[in-house]
């Protein structure tokens, strides 16, 4: 049932501009039972450079899992999601949208763009931590991720 018993750590790309949310997420994923490396992109442009191995990221690994905020500087999260899901190499990587938006319109639209899951960010840091723990537990321990 664990995907990563094969040895190589799981590469997670976290696309998030809030310093506090980055720290909480890193903290939660460090506690996960499955070995993982979290790469952080602080804006949409940096995320696309990482994913398409451009600019400062020519040697970036193809992530096994992506956590994506929707409201980002430079390039919007919806645009990034659309680019990922229409790309042959990146299209199969699970993308978990983690955002503060609770609008039903955003939720439906994001699923139509083939986001794998939509999670709203709780305002309370303790509840946020619990949500990220649950993401880590499900996606790292239970789900079989597509490995390259």
């Amino acid at each position: 049932m664990t995907p990563a018993s094969s040895g190589a750590p799981i590469d997670v790309l976290l696309v998030e501009d809030s310093r506090e949310d980055v720290e909480l997420t890193l903290h939660a994923l460090q506690a996960a039972k499955i070995r993982n490396r979290v790469h952080v992109a602080r804006d949409g442009e940096d995320a696309l450079d990482f994913l398409f191995q451009r600019g400062p990221h020519t040697k970036a690994p193809t992530p096994d899992l992506i956590l994506l905020d929707l409201n980002l500087p430079k390039v919007d999260g919806r645009e990034i999601l659309a680019q990922i899901k229409s790309d042959d190499r990146l299209g199969r990587i699970p993308v978990i949208v983690v955002t503060s938006s609770q609008a039903e319109e955003d939720i439906a639209k994001t699923y139509r763009l083939h986001a794998n899951a939509y999670v709203t960010k709780p305002i309370d840091p303790a509840v946020f931590l619990r949500a990220v723990n649950a993401i880590g537990q499900f996606w790292l321990e239970i789900v079989r991720l597509p490995r390259p």
Binding site: K85, H114, N116, V119, I135
Partner: protein
């Protein structure tokens, strides 16, 4: 995190093995989030359910689908593909729940836009654990689209 919805979450389980159906029902019965489990035992019935055809004219549209890959009449890959190409259905998360551990099955399912791929453990306790984590993540943490 998901606010307690007033209406129960509708789940469609597409599974031909009665033992796995029973276990899934058992695991979801004690869920914190109120849910109704509907069962389709083959691929054709699943699509008829989703499209409100025949005897399924009055069924609710599911908020979440749990889909086995190896099914009678129409296999899970085809069902997944049809769901994800249908404008009225493709926003519904589909979690593949199968015994197959084959990498090509995993890659193909994600390529066809499965939302998550989970393998069924043979061990009974582990099977319950897996269904409970699906419940915990998809019912308690995720925001489902209720359109």
């Amino acid at each position: 995190m998901t606010a307690m919805p007033a209406v129960p979450i509708e789940i469609l389980l597409v599974e031909d093995n009665p033992g796995d159906v029973r276990l899934t029902q058992e695991a979801l019965k004690d869920a914190k989030v109120r849910n109704t489990l509907h069962v389709a035992m083959d691929g054709v019935a699943a699509l008829a359910f989703l499209r409100h055809e025949g005897k399924y004219a009055a069924v609710p549209r599911p908020d979440l689908i749990l889909l086995d890959l190896n099914l009678p009449k129409k296999n899970g890959r085809e069902v997944l593909e049809e769901i994800k190409q249908d404008d009225a259905l493709r926003h519904i998360p589909v979690v593949i729940l199968t015994t197959s551990q084959a990498e090509p099955d995993i890659a193909e399912s994600y390529r066809l836009h499965a939302n998550a791929y989970v393998t069924k453990p043979v061990d009974l306790e582990q099977f319950l654990t897996v269904v409970k984590s699906i419940e915990q993540f998809w019912l308690e943490i995720v925001k489902l689209s209720h359109t």
